[in-house]
């Protein structure tokens, strides 16, 4: 077994410290919003989780393209790692969004374009993980995964743009206003700093977890190859 690289150990510590700083900013530094109260602070980690979730799904699509070009199975490992971590972050974004929605919209869930596209995006990649399990041959599985993530990746820009393209009650806090939106607010400098810092922190956390998950994928591949060797 290869020991944990020093850079990864440093990244782990940096991630933990940054996460603690982000929590402090959300709880103590960012101001209390006048209309929604404390629940508005869910916004900082909600946006950050949605950001890294979408980033990972795009990374998976890019890995899929590289696999199709190179046929190198290491890109399949990268692709699965990206999808798995993104599923976790995007799940957090959906659940925290729903918790925010109750006091803001008086409902946990509504079939609004943003919520619907986000739910579909999550389900597309849950299906990807389930369907992969049913394919035994590693190369066939990798080819299927590459094509799937490439097509599935198309739903990422659709989800991102849904609040800008369609009439929706989901607020467009950054880069636009929506007359139909409910729960929108103007960001003060401290709010903006907290949001940008949270996004940066979750990007670092994503890289740390991504690295760990790739190492697990490599180890699983080694085990699988050794098993094959022993059975032959």
């Amino acid at each position: 077994m290869t020991p944990t690289p020093r850079a990864l150990r440093i990244l782990e510590i940096v991630s933990l410290l940054l996460f603690a700083a982000a929590v402090w900013m959300v709880f103590f530094y960012s101001p209390l919003e006048a209309v929604m109260g404390a629940v508005q602070k869910v916004f900082y980690f909600h946006v950050a989780n949605a950001w890294v979730g979408m980033l990972g799904f795009i990374a998976a699509g890019v890995s899929g393209i590289i696999y199709l070009r190179t046929k190198d199975l290491k890109w399949d490992i990268v692709e699965v790692a990206a999808v798995e971590i993104s599923l976790v972050f995007f799940f957090i974004a959906i659940v925290t969004g729903s918790i925010w929605a109750y006091p803001a919209w008086n409902t946990w869930w509504t079939w609004d374009p943003r919520l619907t596209t986000a739910a579909i995006l999550e389900l597309i990649y849950i299906a990807y993980m389930l369907l992969r399990q049913g394919i035994e041959d590693p190369e066939r599985r990798a080819r299927f995964g590459a094509v799937y993530t490439l097509i599935g990746g198309l739903s990422v820009p659709l989800t991102f743009m849904s609040i800008r393209l369609f009439r929706t009650i989901h607020p467009v806090v950054v880069g636009g206003a929506n007359a139909a939106a409910q729960g929108g607010f103007d960001m003060t400098p401290k709010m903006l700093q907290s949001m940008l810092f949270s996004i940066a922190v979750f990007s670092v956390i994503f890289i740390t977890l991504f690295w760990h998950r790739i190492r697990i994928g490599n180890l699983a591949q080694t085990v699988e190859q050794l098993k094959l060797k022993l059975t032959q």
């Binding site: 077994m1 929590v23 959300v26 209390l32 919003e33 006048a34 209309v35 929604m36 109260g37 404390a38 629940v39 508005q40 602070k41 869910v42 980690f45 909600h46 989780n49 971590i85 976790v88 799940f91 957090i92 659940v95 925290t96 918790i99 925010w100 109750y102 006091p103 803001a104 956390i205 977890l209 760990h212 998950r213 190492r215 697990i216 180890l219 699983a220 080694t222 085990v223 050794l226 098993k227 060797k229 022993l230």
Partner: protein
């Protein structure tokens, strides 16, 4: 929520959301550690089996 003089008390939603974030991330990190340890044990066992076969 509009036209209130003081912000409404929505702290329970705030704490619930952050509790879910902490719990989900903790579980995921634990799952990574467990998978790594299990694979490592499996690899060790397979390597010993390979040695015995030789």
């Amino acid at each position: 929520m509009l036209f209130l003089d003081v912000p409404p008390d929505t702290t329970r939603f705030f704490y619930s959301a952050y509790a879910i974030i902490f719990v989900t991330l903790t579980f995921y990190v634990i799952s990574l550690a467990v998978r790594w340890n299990n694979l490592h044990s499996e690899l060790k066992a397979l390597e010993e089996l390979e040695k015995d076969n030789k």
